[in-house]
């Protein structure tokens, strides 16, 4: 049997003979399928002719008829639901238009250059963080006016940091809440923790979602992104990981950290 199968499917003449037979036989079989009509009708005919006199028989007949009618409806509904589900999942993941590797390389090159002016260096850094905020807005569908960024830079020794804030205006109280949030994030000892439903922790905060990015190892540079609204973070977590990945390297660039502090 094995040799026969090998002779048919693994040799050219065998395959030709097989496909010739299939191409002749298949239409012929399809043509003759109507002969099965009578046989296929038998169960339905019996069901239709069944005189269900007793209550039990009546219920049984109803169940059988229900199965006959409901089966194709269930199959069609299942098919449509699977189509809808696959349509929903087919939304392409968000991909940043910004080439961060390039932007960071530009920043690195400019900051390291003795010929570059401070203004040029500052513009390159602004470009980088503006790109990050732009991506946050596009990815999470939030307004730019609803986003605030806070940079923390570890440049003053073990117990001192320098911080910069820009974007959405805030009160001294909000400021304190931002730093309390940074406490929490630093204590997670992870490079890109997130915090949702923040308003249930800080009653009077103006941000409901906080994102934090820092370098691994000893803190060089961290960035808090405070977003006014709640966002569907779970849905976009993989895309967010993709965006923040290069930013977790920034704190390792000592010259960049020094320049970010000094360029004002």
């Amino acid at each position: 049997m094995k040799k026969f199968v090998q002779a048919v499917f693994r040799t050219v003449p065998g395959q030709i003979i097989f496909w010739v037979i299939v191409s002749i036989m298949l239409p012929a079989i399809l043509e003759e399928l109507f002969a099965l009509n009578d046989m296929l009708s038998i169960p339905l005919k019996h069901l239709a002719e069944w005189k269900a006199d007793s209550t039990l028989e009546g219920r049984l007949k109803f169940i059988l008829l229900f199965i006959v009618y409901a089966s194709p409806i269930a199959v069609i509904a299942g098919f449509l639901a699977s189509r809808r589900k696959s349509g929903e999942t087919a939304v392409p993941p968000y991909r940043s238009r910004n080439n961060y590797e390039r932007l960071i390389a530009d920043v690195k090159e400019t900051v390291n250059s003795r010929e570059a002016t401070n203004q040029l260096k500052a513009e390159k850094i602004n470009l980088l963080f503006d790109a990050l905020i732009e991506d946050v807005c596009h990815l999470f569908q939030v307004q730019r006016s609803g986003v605030r960024a806070v940079l923390v830079i570890n440049n003053r020794g073990r117990h001192k940091l320098t911080s910069w804030r820009w974007g959405r205006a805030c009160t001294p109280d909000q400021d304190r809440m931002d730093y309390k949030a940074i406490d929490k994030f630093l204590e997670t000892e992870l490079t890109y923790p997130t915090w949702e439903q923040v308003k249930s922790h800080f009653d009077h905060t103006d941000s409901d979602t906080l994102l934090f990015i820092r370098n691994s190892g000893k803190l060089g540079l961290g960035c808090l992104i405070a977003i006014e609204n709640s966002i569907d973070l779970e849905k976009h977590m993989q895309e967010w990981e993709h965006i923040v990945s290069p930013f977790t390297m920034l704190g390792h660039m000592d010259k960049l950290v020094r320049f970010v502090v000094n360029y004002t």
């Binding site: 401070n118 203004q119 500052a122 513009e123 602004n126 923390v152 570890n154 003053r156 073990r158 117990h159 001192k160 940091l161 320098t162 911080s163 910069w164 804030r165 820009w166 400021d175 304190r176 730093y179 309390k180 940074i182 406490d183 929490k184 630093l186 204590e187 997670t188 000892e189 992870l190 490079t191 890109y192 923790p193 997130t194 915090w195 949702e196 439903q197 249930s200 922790h201 820092r214 370098n215 691994s216 190892g217 000893k218 803190l219 973070l233 779970e234 977590m237 990981e241 977790t248 360029y263 004002t264």
Partner: protein, 55 residues
Amino acid sequence: MFGSSKKSAKLQLRIASQKTIRTICGRELVEAEIKTNKPIPPASHGTVRLLGKQQ
């Protein structure tokens, strides 16, 4: 006992001073000096999703 009380001391950032500055490219920034009550722990690569009220 001593170890556990040391561990429970939470990291706290406190604003020491704050000023608004304008960069050479015209951006307005708020610069602050922050003091911490203990050294900042090093981090490893990864994430955690904090949700709602925290301890």
